[in-house]
């Protein structure tokens, strides 16, 4: 979904380009997996895509841990979230 609005182009926006950097197309990690899913049969591409998925999963896990840590102070007020 994100690739539909972010351009879906395998290109790294360069902050050195100035403010136009904000308008440069990009392709997020999840969109990269979707764009290359037909090449999963190729071992190098397969390994790359699984590595990207691992980065995404690690990020999600860390966000989950941060969310858990943020909720801890509320426990002393009896809030169970």
């Amino acid at each position: 979904m994100l690739s539909m609005v972010s351009g879906g182009v395998g290109f790294a926006p360069n902050p050195a380009d100035g403010l136009i950097f904000l308008f440069e197309p990009s392709r997020p990690l999840a969109a990269t997996i979707i764009s290359n899913n037909e090449q999963l049969s190729s071992p190098p591409m397969k390994h790359t895509l699984y590595a990207i998925a691992a980065v995404l999963l690690f990020s999600a896990a860390m966000l989950s841990v941060i969310g858990w840590a943020a909720k801890q102070p509320m426990k002393r007020y009896g809030v169970i979230a």
Binding site: M4, N37, L56, L57, A60, A61, G67, W68
Partner: protein, 323 residues
């Protein structure tokens, strides 16, 4: 006034509480309130803009023929057919995924809320459910490709020359059920936790066991939350694209695995409305925006109908519960 007179005189009236209006607040609080109002109105405007835009564009392009014809390959947009198979695919996927997610979600929520022993396992389960809720669906899709390409699960999808392709309605709905599961667990658990403890105690007092109490007292009382969670989960399931593209094949039309009427279809590949929209969007390979707008309009109508259905059912359940 003497002390005796003072003790006999009527008590002084309590100080009149000033109206809790925002005018008496500190400036920073007032700025915060104004910002909250601005954000609330902004999100209302964004939601209204999306609905109105797709209503206008969808009505412009939606034709009854689109709902009853299948997509076909053609260089002319007028001859590429409609989206019957993606529409049916959406219904099949939604039913199958929720058939897995709802019973599993209720079971997990009841266990976490009412039993929760051993405590360490319950906490671990809670953390896993939270992590599942935050996991991008594309990661689940990739995991699904590993899982369903295993020869042991070959009976659930198509095989070609002994190679298991791992793409089928079974595979997609199994992974999509993981997308809907956290919503069901969270809302049912919340519904069970807000039931006062005296309701449970009253049930135990008349001799009901814990399981009977859960089945006959707590779950009926938590029915509104159960319906809400199911519908929210369903909304996430029918709106997902990544799992559909990777595990359902995104083939636009049904491609049966064999000639067996239902099983052949479920073991085969297909598509849903989200996959169809992705393909036909201006950035997609199909590049037929009018068809994408029409399909998006139908998808939005389904989601709106679900929301209205939830609202109506929850109100009715609450009224019945209080009566």
């Amino acid at each position: 006034m003497t002390v005796a007179q003072a003790s006999l005189s009527p008590p002084a009236s309590p100080p009149v509480r000033r109206a809790d209006s925002s005018a008496s607040w500190r400036l920073s609080d007032r700025i915060g309130l104004g910002f909250a109002w601005f954000l609330g109105l902004l999100f209302c405007a964004i939601a209204a803009a999306i609905v109105i835009y797709f209503l206008v564009e969808g009505i412009k392009y939606l034709r009854p023929s689109l709902l009853v014809t299948n997509p076909t390959a053609s260089s002319s947009e007028s001859q590429t057919g409609g989206f019957l198979d993606p529409l049916l695919g959406t219904v099949i996927i939604a039913l199958m995924a929720m058939a897995i997610a709802i019973p599993s979600g209720i079971g997990i929520a009841v266990w976490l809320s009412e039993f929760g022993r051993p405590t360490a396992l319950a906490r671990l389960t809670e953390s896993c459910i939270e992590m599942l809720a935050g996991t991008p669906s594309v990661v689940l899709a990739l995991f699904g490709t590993i899982l369903f390409e295993a020869p042991a699960l070959g009976f659930l999808s198509q095989t070609s020359h002994g190679i298991v392709l791992g793409q089928s309605f079974f595979a997609a709905s199994a992974m999509l059920s993981l997308v809907g599961l956290p919503m069901v667990v969270a809302t049912v658990r919340e519904g069970l936790q807000v039931i006062p403890s005296h309701v449970r105690e009253a049930s135990y007092a008349v001799g009901k066991t814990k399981i009977a109490t859960t089945r006959r007292v707590l779950l009926p009382a938590a029915r509104p939350q159960l319906i809400t969670g199911s519908m929210l989960g369903l909304g996430r399931v029918i709106g997902d694209t990544a799992i559909v593209l990777l595990l359902l094949g995104g083939t636009l039309t049904f491609s049966n695995a064999n000639s067996t009427p239902l099983l052949g279809t479920l073991r085969g590949t297909g598509d849903t409305l989200t996959g169809y929209i992705y393909y036909n969007a201006p950035t997609g390979d199909g590049n037929q925006p009018s068809k994408a707008y029409a399909a998006a309009f139908v998808l939005m109508l389904i989601v709106l109908a679900l929301n209205l259905g939830v609202d109506f059912t929850v109100r009715r359940s609450r009224a019945k519960l209080w009566n």
